[in-house]
């Protein structure tokens, strides 16, 4: 009983921004069955032939994809297809899961992040993460944002720290709402505000890449709209990889979209193309709502 949903309509495919969109390249010097523009011209991150195993079970199968500067890359796919797993490889959050085992090559600006010499602490400062459920620390709003700069020693004194906190909150579009309650607990904010606080906390350490795992799934449409707007602004300074279950959201915020299916990366394409003209049968089935 497949209900025939129409393919997602694209009213406003990724609002144009003054940052030039990534230019996909088709050449492949590696073994990959993925359809579409896996590689880009000047990637900030590259992943090649990545496999992830949970114990004996393989959750990610031979995934290769590039992440460009100043792009929002969205990852979609049915539940359990490995989107979160793959995302968590990019800042080595999978290290915290004892059974998880990652092979393949992942590079951040040419440096292998799984190299023995790579320090996870530095890596995670450069590749920040925003989680599905807002998880502010049970500390004040100020402390939440100041935490990253503190542990990484980014501010030399209080004025600098105050400045970082303010700019981060400003960039996250939260400053006006919290400027009078910086000393109140971050857990006392609304869900949408908490998620923006988490984004502020993440950008306070000035990362290169921000990973977002379904950042809006716990939020109402208005809060979601705020965060989508925010992502478009953040794109000027950061690369963003977002996992989402909402195809509309992927269409609204991203320049490229990657479709995962049972651990395989099936297709990568410019968002405007993939939604209107998917190349792979599986992608098409998913986008038209035949499963997922």
């Amino acid at each position: 009983m497949l209900n025939q949903k129409p393919a997602v309509r694209l009213e406003n495919p990724a609002k144009t921004n003054d940052v030039s969109p990534p230019s996909p390249v088709q050449n492949r010097e590696f073994d990959s069955k993925t359809v579409g523009c896996v590689t880009v011209d000047k990637p900030i991150m590259t992943t090649r032939n990545v496999d992830v195993y949970y114990g004996g079970k393989q959750a990610i199968i031979n995934v290769s994809i590039d992440i460009a500067y100043n792009e929002v890359l969205s990852m979609i796919g049915p539940s359990g297809c490995g989107k979160s797993t793959f995302l968590r490889c990019l800042n080595r959050m999978n290290d915290t899961i004892e059974s998880a085992h990652v092979t393949g090559k992942i590079e951040l600006e040419g440096h292998d992040i799984y190299d023995k010499k790579t320090d996870v602490v530095t890596l995670r400062a450069r590749v920040g993460m925003v989680f599905q459920k807002p998880n502010p620390f049970p500390k004040s709003v100020y402390e939440n944002v100041a935490y990253g700069p503190r542990i990484h020693g980014l501010a030399r004194n209080h004025t600098e720290l105050d400045e970082i906190v303010q700019t981060s909150l400003l960039r996250a579009g939260l400053w006006d709402e919290v400027k009078d309650r910086l000393s109140q607990p971050g857990t006392g904010l609304s869900g949408g505000q908490q998620q923006r606080l988490c984004i502020a906390r993440c950008i306070a350490v000035n990362p290169d890449v921000i990973l977002m795992d379904e950042p809006c799934s716990a939020l109402d449409p208005i809060a979601t709209a705020r965060i989508e707007e925010l992502m478009d602004e953040l794109r000027q300074n950061y690369s963003i990889v977002i996992v989402t279950h909402s195809m509309q959201q992927a269409a609204r915020v991203s320049q490229r979209t990657a479709y995962f299916h049972l651990g395989d990366l099936i297709e990568v394409g410019e968002t405007s193309n993939i939604f209107t003209n998917p190349q792979d049968k599986l992608t098409e089935d998913y986008l038209t709502g035949r499963f997922g």
Partner: protein, 426 residues
């Protein structure tokens, strides 16, 4: 007639409600039984113990006779300290009851006043030698038998031979009472003195201080060690056979009867390491062994209850494992750890069996001045008093139990307060 679903549910409904009511009444009944038992305990202990907070005092017109205290008139503190103040009391009693001439009777008469009265008079003279030569009205503790008679614990209708107080003595006491020379006062001694063979001079302070030093040692050892062990096992240790084994054994240790720790303390701390007997230090060491598993288990549970999202948040910011634990997990887990520790300490406070093994059961008069001084602890003091024949120790046993219970209630209250106060909602 066919039954619709609604009918079927309706038919079942009565049974379901009945079952619910039955279940609720079972619960209520068990709560009631529990409360009744608790009430009974409190009523019996308070009923038996409250009289111990008062003590009968006897009024004496003491003549501070220079001829007895300081015949040479030197006022040398050494001589004052060595004088026979008992003579003063005897003289006073003889004057009060001139009819008593028989030697046996006189001895019994003197015994109405507590032997502790001698020390009160000695103290008075030491503090103010000017008293010598004057006559003063002073109140001194009466003997415990007098106290028991006044409190109504001695049955006058019993045949004289079965009574601790004979007819003559009762007559003297009645005479004293009739002339307002007997009075029940707040029993300060009970809260300030160490143990004594004389009930009216015995107090719990020595045991309280002993308990304090013992618990201090226990806390200082078991809290940091327990918390560190829990943090390591929960946050840093790899999950493998060894850590599993350790975990199982910690859980087993928590179930080991406390007397076993006492035996261990006896053979390791006393026989092998030759630490002092009866010392709170050793008691604390033994109780630490006993409390550690409790603290570790409670601390691990508390660490476990810190949501993974907080850890992920911290790690995702680039915090190291150590920073994540120190900055986020530990502060959130601390109230739970403290609660567990307080409950462990409360258990340690009530523990007597392992302390018997390491000699904390000795009769100790002096209040300990440090964790190396021989001392006893509250539950052992209770045990010691419960074993004595004097009627006056019965009420003191109950009173000491009351004090112990009060400490336990306060500690558990603190644990509940901590839990409520720092309860986190995520």
């Amino acid at each position: 007639m066919t039954m619709t679903t609604a009918d079927k549910i309706q038919a079942n409904l009565k049974k379901r409600y009945a079952a619910e009511r039955r279940f609720r009444s079972y619960g209520l009944a068990s709560v009631a039984i529990g409360l009744a038992a608790l009430l009974l305990l409190f009523i019996s202990i308070i009923g038996k113990g409250y009289t111990a907070f008062q003590q009968t005092y006897v009024k004496l017109e003491v003549q501070f006779d220079e001829a007895i205290i300081d015949p040479q008139g030197t006022r040398d503190p050494q001589i004052l300290a060595r004088a026979d103040y008992g003579k003063l009391i005897k003289k006073t009693m003889r004057k009060r009851f001139p009819d008593v001439t028989n030697r046996r009777d006189r001895r019994n008469l003197y015994k109405l006043v507590s032997p502790g009265a001698v020390f009160s008079i000695q103290d008075m003279v030491r503090n103010d030698p000017g008293l010598i030569g004057t006559t003063q009205t002073i109140w001194v503790p009466a003997d415990d038998d007098v106290d028991m008679l006044i409190k109504g614990y001695i049955n006058r209708d019993e045949p004289e031979s079965d009574r601790r107080l004979k007819d003559k003595e009762i007559a003297w006491i009645d005479a004293l009472a009739a002339s307002d020379s007997l009075e029940k006062r707040f029993n300060k001694t009970f809260f300030t003195a160490g143990d004594s063979r004389e009930p009216e001079l015995a107090g719990i302070w020595g045991a309280v201080v002993g308990s304090f030093y013992t618990l201090l040692v226990t806390l200082v050892l078991s809290f940091p060690i327990g918390v560190s062990a829990a943090v390591y096992l929960q946050e840093f240790a790899p999950r493998n056979r060894w850590t599993d084994l350790i975990e199982v054994n910690i859980n087993n240790l928590a179930a080991v009867p406390s007397i076993v720790f006492g035996l261990l303390g006896l053979s390791v701390f006393l026989n092998f390491m030759a630490l002092p007997r009866s010392a709170p230090l050793v008691g604390g060491l033994v109780l630490s062994l006993m409390t550690l598993p409790t603290v570790i288990i409670a601390s691990r549970a508390s660490l476990q209850s810190v949501p993974p999202s907080i850890r992920e948040g911290a790690l995702g910011m680039g915090a190291s494992q150590m920073q994540m634990v120190a900055h986020h997990v530990l502060p959130l887990a601390m109230p739970g750890m403290l609660t567990g520790t307080i409950i462990g300490m409360a258990r340690a406070l009530g523990e007597s069996a392992p302390l018997l093994m390491i000699g904390m059961v000795a009769f100790i008069v002096n209040v300990p001045e440090g964790p190396l001084d021989p001392s006893t602890v509250l539950p052992v003091q209770i045990y010691l008093w419960a074993d004595t024949p004097e009627r006056a120790f019965v009420e003191r046993t109950s009173a000491a139990t009351l004090v112990l219970l009060a400490f336990l209630v306060v500690m558990n209250g603190a644990a509940v307060w901590l839990r409520k106060r720092f309860e986190q909602r995520w």
